[in-house]
């Protein structure tokens, strides 16, 4: 019983991180209709940014997150403005291909500059945890979970309440009408992609505190983010959170009861089944 509860707790904590990873992907997908295959590479760069700030400048990894987010925002803004805006009206698989090309380039540069070695972000408090009636809750993961919840809520509020957020939603619903109301699509698209990249940056920094990083972590993380976005639907950030938690718990349970090597069978199998049964996502609208 305690074991099951413990697995559930780790699953939820892992799921919080998953949700944050998927949030940026879902935002870009929902608004720009671009399935960003370089999303995982952006997460990887966020992790390296945090790692450098921690080992090079001795900045606490959690304090480094805003810096990582800001630099990834700038990178994302430039990628959208400089490259993706040029092809966004082309056939669908062109945007898939071009983001894959960007992924290859980013991964190569990361391997060139940061080497292929495994890195970890290991602050002094990394191993400490809180005992809660027989359950252990690692501080780092709990803090990561809290940051994720705050960011997701903030993201939702931003989309609902601010002028720019409304511009983003308008552009995703009807670009022509949005233009007539004074939305500048070039700027809004670049902002949206930048925001998606910034979220990936934060997720990467947090990922680095709980797991090892190397230049090749991007691909699998992109795939996981897809699964979550598909489960949660693209309609609102809360769906993505639910999707992340669900996937985290399912993976932890599978690892315990079936075997760790079946984790990916569970998560990607779920993706296929959900897509076939409910193409709009488990929680979102049906197509």
């Amino acid at each position: 019983m305690v074991l099951l509860l413990q697995v559930l707790v780790s699953g939820v904590l892992l799921g919080g991180l998953y949700a944050l990873m998927a949030l940026g992907l879902a935002l870009v997908w929902g608004v720009l209709n671009i399935v960003n295959l370089s999303h995982g590479a952006l997460i990887m760069l966020g992790a390296y940014a945090t790692w450098f700030l921690y080992t090079g400048a001795h900045i606490d990894p959690f304090a480094a997150l805003p810096i990582a987010a800001a630099s990834l925002f700038a990178l994302g803004y430039i990628i959208q403005r400089g490259i993706l805006n040029l092809v966004i009206r082309g056939p669908m698989f062109n945007t898939l291909l071009i983001t894959f090309g960007i992924e290859v380039i980013l991964t190569y540069l990361a391997q060139l500059w940061f080497s292929a070695d495994f890195r970890t972000i290991n602050p002094s408090y990394a191993g400490s945890n809180h005992a809660l009636g027989g359950l252990t809750v690692p501080y780092v993961q709990a803090l990561a979970f809290a940051i994720d919840s705050v960011l997701t809520t903030a993201m939702w509020m931003f989309l609902l309440r601010t002028r720019t957020g409304r511009g983003i939603r308008a552009a995703s619903q009807n670009l022509v009408a949005a233009r007539l109301y004074g939305v500048d699509p070039k700027r809004i698209y670049a902002l949206t992609f930048g925001l998606g990249a910034a979220l990936a940056g934060v997720a990467g920094g947090l990922y680095g505190t709980v797991s090892q990083i190397n230049p090749y972590i991007g691909g699998p993380l992109t795939a996981k983010s897809f699964v979550i976005a598909i489960i949660g639907g693209l309609d609102n950030p809360l769906g993505v959170i639910a999707g992340g938690l669900f996937l985290g718990v399912v993976e932890s349970l599978t690892a315990l009861y079936v075997g760790p090597t079946y984790r990916d069978v569970a998560s990607f199998g779920m993706l296929v089944l959900i897509l076939i049964a409910r193409p709009g996502g488990l929680l979102g609208r049906t197509a």
Binding site: N33, R89, M92, L97, V272
Partner: protein, 339 residues
């Protein structure tokens, strides 16, 4: 938001010079192609081992790109699951030869059967999805299959299987050439037949095609199975040639992306485009890998980005339409697709 893509990918009007001159050019073109294939078949007796090795890899990639062309280029369903067929073909050969000590051709049949059956069964479910959803669902299938095969004892689990060694580059080369020619002839048939036109109709407007009497489900599943057949056979040849396979290597999603890039770079929905795309991209990658070790993948990424921006409809379209416009062809492409 409606994408402008659909209208621009209408099939090219037949370039028909009327009358006898048209027939003469067609005959000349056919002779030229036959000569080219004959020259390629003679390559092992002219070139050196390095060239033959390179030829095998290019011909297999050309077959894969052509296989993807059937489902992605003609039917308009961007499959990320073709690497599954490749893996099934490779494992068909490996399991037959290693676990049951059967001859190579039985393994090829096993792999072919597995791939085609898988495509038929899953196609029924998966081909109901469209666009991104289809792409991601097939990607999910590829990842599931990697994970499942890593857990199968008969497939050697995580470690993979080691096949018996056969040192006959010429045999592998000729097999790969035969398969690539067969795939290209099939696509040529698609471009002229009623079945192929049905697929193009599905790509351009699926509801419209259904209204016009195309049995869309049947057409799509058959196209998926055809695509799977060539991909599985290529996987089988690869497995026997390379003599060692493991799940991550043959169910590789990156290989699937390569098929797409080669087909799209060459011209999706054209007959020779995917073959030319495979040749040009492999040759450049090979030369670069020799000249600047390590930077090949960077170059690969840059080629993809530049090609998608400046020639989004591939080499086949470029060759036909660059004409008098010259470099303005590239600028016009950017103009039509940018925000």
């Amino acid at each position: 938001m409606k994408r402008a893509g659909a209208a621009q990918r209408l099939p090219e009007p037949p370039e028909g010079e009327p009358g006898a001159r048209g027939a003469a050019t067609r005959a000349a073109r056919r002779t030229a192609l036959a000569l080219a294939v004959a020259a390629l078949a003679a390559l092992p007796w002219i070139g050196n081992t390095v060239l033959v090795q390179f030829g095998i890899s290019v011909l297999l990639l050309a077959t894969l790109a052509q296989g993807w062309n059937i489902i992605g280029g003609y039917t308009g369903y961007p499959s990320f699951g073709n690497s599954v067929f490749y893996g099934l073909g490779a494992y068909g050969v490996a399991i037959a030869m290693v676990q049951y000590e059967l001859p190579f051709w039985v393994g090829m049949l096993l792999g072919l059967g597995l791939g085609v059956a898988f495509a038929g069964l899953l196609g029924l479910a998966v081909l109901r999805l469209k666009g991104h959803h289809f792409a991601i669902c097939t990607l999910g299938l590829a990842l599931v299959m990697t994970a499942i095969v890593s857990n199968l004892e008969i497939a050697g689990g995580n470690i993979g299987l080691v096949l018996p060694l056969l040192r006959s580059e010429v045999l592998f080369y000729e097999l790969a050439l035969g398969l690539a020619v067969l795939a290209t002839l099939t696509v040529l048939w698609l471009s002229r037949s009623r079945f192929g036109l049905g697929l193009i109709a599905i790509r351009e407007n699926e509801e419209g095609a259904a209204v016009m009497g195309v049995n869309t489900t049947f057409y799509k599943v058959i196209a998926f199975m055809l695509s799977a057949a060539f991909t599985a056979l290529a996987g089988g040849i690869y497995a026997y040639h390379i003599t060692y396979i493991d799940p991550v290597g043959v169910f590789d999603v990156v290989l699937n992306v390569k098929m797409i890039i080669m087909a799209v770079f060459g011209g999706p929905g054209s007959v020779l485009g995917p073959v030319v795309g495979a040749l040009i991209l492999s040759a450049t990658a090979e030369v670069l890998a020799a000249r600047l070790t390590g930077a090949a993948s960077l170059f690969f990424g840059i080629v993809i980005v530049v090609a998608v921006v400046f020639m989004p409809r591939g080499i086949a379209h470029l060759v036909r339409h660059i004409g008098p416009a010259g470099w303005r062809y590239f600028i016009d492409n950017v103009r039509t697709h940018r925000l």
